[in-house]
Amino acid sequence: MATADPRLSKATEPFDIVATYNDLLRSDPDLTMPIAAIEALVLLLTHSPSSTISETLDLLEKSTTHLKKSIPNPIGLSAGTDLFQRYLITTLQRPGQLGPAGDFNAIRAHLLSNSRLFIRRAKESRDKIATFGRGFVRDGSTVLTNGGSRVVASLLQRAADEKGGPSAVRFNVIYVLSPPKRNVENTTAEPEGLETVRALRAKGVPVATIPESAVAYSLGKADVVIVGAEGVVENGGIVSRMGTYQIGLLAKAMGKPFYVVAESHKFVRVYPLGQYDLPIEQHVIDFKTQEDVDTAKQQQPANASSTPLNDSEFHPDAVDFTPPHLISALITDSGVLTPSAVSEELIKIWF
């Protein structure tokens, strides 16, 4: 891989996939990681002058690995890239005019137009999920949720919109807010999810915000837990922002239903056996003695002055794995699934 990198960077010099991916994510707050990855790959294909199928696939492969390597947590992203690659291969293998025998330019044009369609459908899936999941928010119930999931937000807002309608739903929300991403540029960032809280409150939904440490305390007042996910893995478990696993454990212990809301393009071909079997490197648990802390401080005295403790103790992008037995159901755009049905869906996509 290391030998391939220089060539790769030369090849993609006019088009930087990583930058495109990051730009896409930043420009559209509604965009999820897999979709951003797919969109970046489509843009790559439009920019690149590849003329054969194998060249296209090769380019795709290289850019994907490059992208995966440059992003600290490529689980969600890889769901998108895998899906896109799979889609391309099946399209190319299909017999007929667009198959291997056909004119490559036609194939390419077809691919690109279809890829756009693919992206649009993926974006629409959030609405679909909201329709499916609306019934899980019952009248008079209290929902506990966490994180900044856009699907959860759209689901709750959809439920709130119905207020006054034929199925008037009055519900409360307990929103678990985790400390904000605080980096050097903006030290006054607000916690993820606060925007959703404001939107819900504007719609007249009573929202209580609690810190992560108060989940066990508050769970007694909640009727249902609804969380988002970064990726849904093969055994039906989810990879999600740090803290979801403990909510799942607590919900199980208290007998509260634990629902996961996720688009089906987040299904990813990973099979973690536990927290420490994720295909990413996380240094959440970092043992240090005072000596280590002191040496670390000495090494970077300039930066240390800002917030040394927060840097080491809080990992904003860290994720954990919630095993399938803690999940009551997954609300996806292909329906409400049990965790064991996820592998069926994945097998359908892959074979």
């Binding site: 093969e234 055994n235 039906g236 071909r269 099979y271 056996l273 536990g274 079997d277 399938p324 965790p339 064991s340 592998s343 069926e344 097998i347 892959w350 074979f351």
Partner: protein
């Protein structure tokens, strides 16, 4: 659960290439059992009677009786006898079942009289049969030799039911001891395979499947369609004879069943207009692709993806001797991963011994213990890898008895979080059957396997050390004093296991069950050639792999 790394070679190997050199006793026993159907066929109820009346002197008593019978019958026309052969075989099977393992009265037949008739009788199978006699000289053959002679005769007297009641439905037909009585349609390669299966020479789900397919390939090669029928129609029935024979040697495994089903489906899809030679070639090709696709290549894929789950510093626990787990561990080792292997084994097959030896000689760090020590072995385990006999449609693992215990120990150790249980299984082992417990569907092996054990070499209380060590300190001591102890200790040793006479011991039943069912909750992941799945996805993959 496989021992044979290259099962492909075994079934077709010629008869003299037996794994163990035949010993004298089993050969003799073989002769006896071969001649056994003859007198019984003539007079089915007869052999049981003399045994009942004079149990202690069975051999002496039955010999004259049978000899007399032989004398009486030898003048009878051979034609009539041939006619009665089929009914006789049926009667013999019934008698065998009643005896429940003891082929007792076979002990003393007049060796001369039936011999001539046997020649005419077993015409087709005779040359194979004689070579097959040596094959039984394996563990099981020698195991049976001892109790059959005396003990089984007394069994007749007591007629106590030695079948464990709960598993009563599993006993069924006594396993075949000989190739005699096999239909003339049965191909020699299949005859050989049957006995190899019976003796666990070919053991393990995939090995049995491959061996069966290879034997069937030879059957197909030797097959010619009789006039008036088509290959697609007749070959299926021809194969059915082979299959029936195999299943009397040992119940067919799920993988065998699946392979046979696929083969039959392919046969029935052959166009009748296709010339026979061409059809046979395509059938052989089908078998070859089936073996490579479903087992050989599948194993490589599984080993590759399962090896990814092995991390540096892991302690891998495995049970018995699965070939696919062996391949996985060796693959991971070749990738330079540093891990330890702890093999849990169990009586009576000791399949883990071969695995332990192979892994250790490959350079892995191996710890070997029996299932009794599971709680210690599981203590420092980080992952459990299991082989499979079959995966049922409710996600349960049907595997060598003891597997469920290992899986449970791993899951119950620390709340089930820390020790993932990984099953490596080809999709050819998936079945649409559902297993709720291990009682309804299971296999019962000969209980005598539990009885016979190799006496360990003891340093204490045994004649040799007593004789050598005692005179050493006291030169002129009391050698006489040691002698009685010698005679005391030698008697049990010569007798073998205290359970040796279990058939005569009232209120004693022995159960040698082969498989158990591991609940799906104890399995975290099933690694197949189609990817890693949760156990709940087994029926979906099974449906997909059989439909396409």
């Amino acid at each position: 659960m496989t021992n044979t790394s290259d099962p492909a070679l075994n079934p077709v190997s010629s008869a003299p290439a037996t794994p163990k050199s035949p010993s004298q006793a089993p050969q003799k026993k073989m002769e006896q059992s071969q001649s056994q159907p003859q007198p019984k066929g003539q007079k089915p109820p007869k052999p049981t009677k003399p045994a009942k009346q004079q149990p202690p002197k069975d051999k002496n008593a039955s010999t004259p009786a049978d000899a007399a019978g032989g004398d009486k019958l030898s003048p009878a026309e051979l034609k009539k006898q041939a006619k009665a052969e089929k009914a006789a075989r049926r009667a013999r099977e019934r008698a065998d079942r009643e005896q429940a393992g003891g082929s007792a009265p076979a002990g003393g037949q007049g060796p001369n009289t039936p011999a001539g008739k046997r020649g005419s009788d077993a015409a087709g199978g005779a040359p194979v049969g004689s070579s097959k006699g040596q094959k039984t000289a394996t563990r099981r053959g020698s195991a049976q030799a001892a109790p059959q002679g005396g003990a089984a005769a007394e069994l007749k007297k007591k007629q106590e039911d030695k079948n464990v009641a709960v598993f009563g439905h599993l006993y069924g037909q006594q396993r075949r001891n000989t190739v005699a009585g096999a239909g003339k349609e049965v191909h020699p390669a299949v005859l050989a395979l049957g006995l190899q299966l019976r003796d666990y020479v070919i053991c393990g789900s995939s090995a049995r499947c491959v061996a069966t397919l290879l034997a069937f390939k030879r059957v197909i090669e030797a097959y010619t369609t009789p006039i008036g029928t088509s290959l697609a129609r007749h070959l299926t029935t021809h194969l059915s004879h082979q299959i029936t024979y195999l299943s009397t040697c040992r119940p067919l495994s799920i993988s065998q069943g699946n392979a046979i089903r696929a083969l039959k489906l392919f046969i029935s899809s052959i166009d009748p207009s296709v010339p026979e030679a061409q059809a046979k070639t395509s059938l052989c090709e089908f078998i070859d692709t089936f073996i490579s696709e479903k087992i050989t290549v599948a194993d490589q894929v599984i080993a590759g993806s399962a090896a990814q789950k092995i991390k540096d510093g892991d302690v891998i626990v495995t049970f018995a001797g699965s070939s696919i787990v062996k391949q996985t561990l060796l693959t991971a080792f070749r990738q330079g991963k540093k891990f330890r292997v702890s093999i849990i084994d169990s009586r009576p097959l000791f399949e883990g011994k071969n695995l332990a030896r192979t892994l250790a000689s490959a350079g892995l760090e191996v710890q070997y213990s029996l299932i009794n020590g599971i709680s210690h072995a599981i203590k420092d385990a980080t992952k459990v890898f299991l082989g499979a006999h079959a995966m049922t449609s409710n996600g349960r693992l049907y595997s060598r008895v003891g597997t469920a215990l290992v899986a449970m120990s791993a899951k119950e150790r620390a709340g089930g979080v820390e020790v993932p249980v990984i099953v490596c299984c080809e999709t050819v082992k998936f079945t649409d059957r559902v297993a709720l417990d291990s009682i309804v569907v299971n296999e019962i092996a000969d209980a005598d396997e539990l009885v016979i054990t190799q006496e360990p070499h003891q340093l204490t209380d045994l004649p040799d050390p007593a004789a050598t060590s005692q005179p050493a300190p006291k030169k002129g001591g009391k050698p006489a004093a040691s002698n009685p102890s010698v005679s005391e200790t030698t008697t049990p040793k010569n007798n073998g296991s205290p359970l040796k006479d279990w058939r005569d011991t009232p209120n004693l039943q022995l159960l040698n069950i082969m498989y158990d069912v591991t609940p799906a909750e104890y399995v975290d992941m099933v690694v197949t050639e189609m990817g890693s799945l949760p156990p709940s996805a087994v029926p979906i993959v099974h449906r997909m792999s059989t439909n396409t």
